[in-house]
Subunit: 347 residues, 2 copies
Amino acid sequence: MNNPQIHPVVLCGGSGTRLWPRSRVAKPKPFLPLVGDGTLFEATLARCPAAAGFAVPIVVTGAAHLAHVEAQWPAGVGGETIVEPCARNTAAAIALAALRLPEDAVMLVCPSDHHIADAAAFQAAAHAAAELAAEGWLVSFGIEATAPETGFGYLRRGEPIGALGFKVAQFVEKPDLERARQFLADGGYAWNGGIFAFRAGTFLDELAAHRPEIAAMARKAVAGGHSQGARFHPDPEAFAAINSESVDYAVMENTARAAMVPAAMGWSDIGNWDALLAARPRDASGNAVKGPAELVDCRNVLIESDGPRVSAIGLEDVVIVVDGNEVLVTTRAGAQLVGKLDGAANQ
Amino acid sequence: MNNPQIHPVVLCGGSGTRLWPRSRVAKPKPFLPLVGDGTLFEATLARCPAAAGFAVPIVVTGAAHLAHVEAQWPAGVGGETIVEPCARNTAAAIALAALRLPEDAVMLVCPSDHHIADAAAFQAAAHAAAELAAEGWLVSFGIEATAPETGFGYLRRGEPIGALGFKVAQFVEKPDLERARQFLADGGYAWNGGIFAFRAGTFLDELAAHRPEIAAMARKAVAGGHSQGARFHPDPEAFAAINSESVDYAVMENTARAAMVPAAMGWSDIGNWDALLAARPRDASGNAVKGPAELVDCRNVLIESDGPRVSAIGLEDVVIVVDGNEVLVTTRAGAQLVGKLDGAANQ
């Protein structure tokens, strides 16, 4: 079956302490305009237009973020929001979406807080993944590794499946730096970015095979749920009773039908302020500025201000963020520690 | 004559762009609590107590800063404020003060925006200077040079005058770095910090000899002035007609009776944020913090915030100042450029 229609399933969760103080519990990363004019959530929907073969989206989010989702949902797009009464990780979220779709529907699970510079490459990879999914594979995007990152899991490439992709030989947990360097040099490893394609029915079958209790309870939560306009509310008691597991751990690492498609699409999970600087358009000195600012003798400096003017002199590889009553100044290398600051940890 | 009573003459002027954004046109450096609990102006008065042989102070200030002067004047100290209707530099300011004192009074001219760590050393130098002043010398404090500073004028030491001080062999303009290094290595040069002692009558005689038009017009401004409580207002027209010249240029560099007393007293003109960091008490990592802040892996960092919390990671030799709608982040080396920022220049 060629070119099946693709049902985007957009996951909106997370607390986003790593981009504090811009990202806060009350307004996390997906809903912020971090790269370009739109928010990451808006960009995620915009990457999946009807014209490129995508069906209306299903968005899975928590009640706390429903207002952001609905405020940023483009007019006329249609689709459904599944409102989780509590957080139960990705296996549960994807199971709910699968149960709201026909068995033969091909789902494309998309995190809502990533940046993808090349939308056409994303769409091409999505269609390759969808073709494999229609054949019964559970497909991960194998994101081209461009640096020895220690913050991601990796996929080891196995045998080819036709011209579209490969079997996954192994799911590899986050490596240390030495192993990450080996993976990069090897060339046979890709980042696991949490983007997946499968038929709804295939996913539910595999979930039932490997995590029958999650599958059964998700089915109960949907059967006992109700719609309210474009919102779908699962049964709160049944949903709360679902085990909290990631889809990787519950399904992808266990299935015999794990596949991957290569995806070189300018991807970033914007995992910290340093990653955001790398994803941003920059001036000739490597600086990226949002908000009122004056820079003198600065290189590779990121400035984000929600109001006050930032005047910077002589800085190199520094991030400055002004948000309300918080000011963050960190080296790019220190950006990975932001989530552990008092302000980020005790919001 | 031994131990003459010393009349402090405190000069409160300047716009203070170099400590922007904390220092602003409306509230310049003398009136800010930059080192310790009090302001620099308060500390200047506190260094000249009656118990150490000082008379009540005369403060010379502009109308724009009169409110700050009066608000920060300690209760019960007494003294007079000379209110300048416009700025006419130090020769005019000192002439007004001299004309408000008896001819034989020994004046000690003190800038109000310097930090002096060792008040006892200051008082000892002041009494040495006062003894020379009582003998008819015009005495500069020769501040011990501890670094090859290019931002100050220098005094070259001449022959000794008894045990108290030396003749000034030469007033040297701000040197370049190479000459400043030579001065430091030579040991015979001291910084000219703008602290002077002389008899009122001696000063007026020398002013009349070298700048007769300034002397005459200052005399006219005082003769036509009036007191209002502790304030003295010179005649505004006569004052405005005075030539604007520094006391160094008008008098000290021309007199044949220029003397200096050595002063090693932990002096700083707090000429920029880097100098302020050097003058501040610091923690074991060299950091000095005022306001809410969290520091992680930081060394030699100065943080000043008037409210927002500042979180800093991985920084070294950096200054962060948050004041109202302005945030300054500069390297210590870049601190000398602060006055040229848009924000500082266009207040």
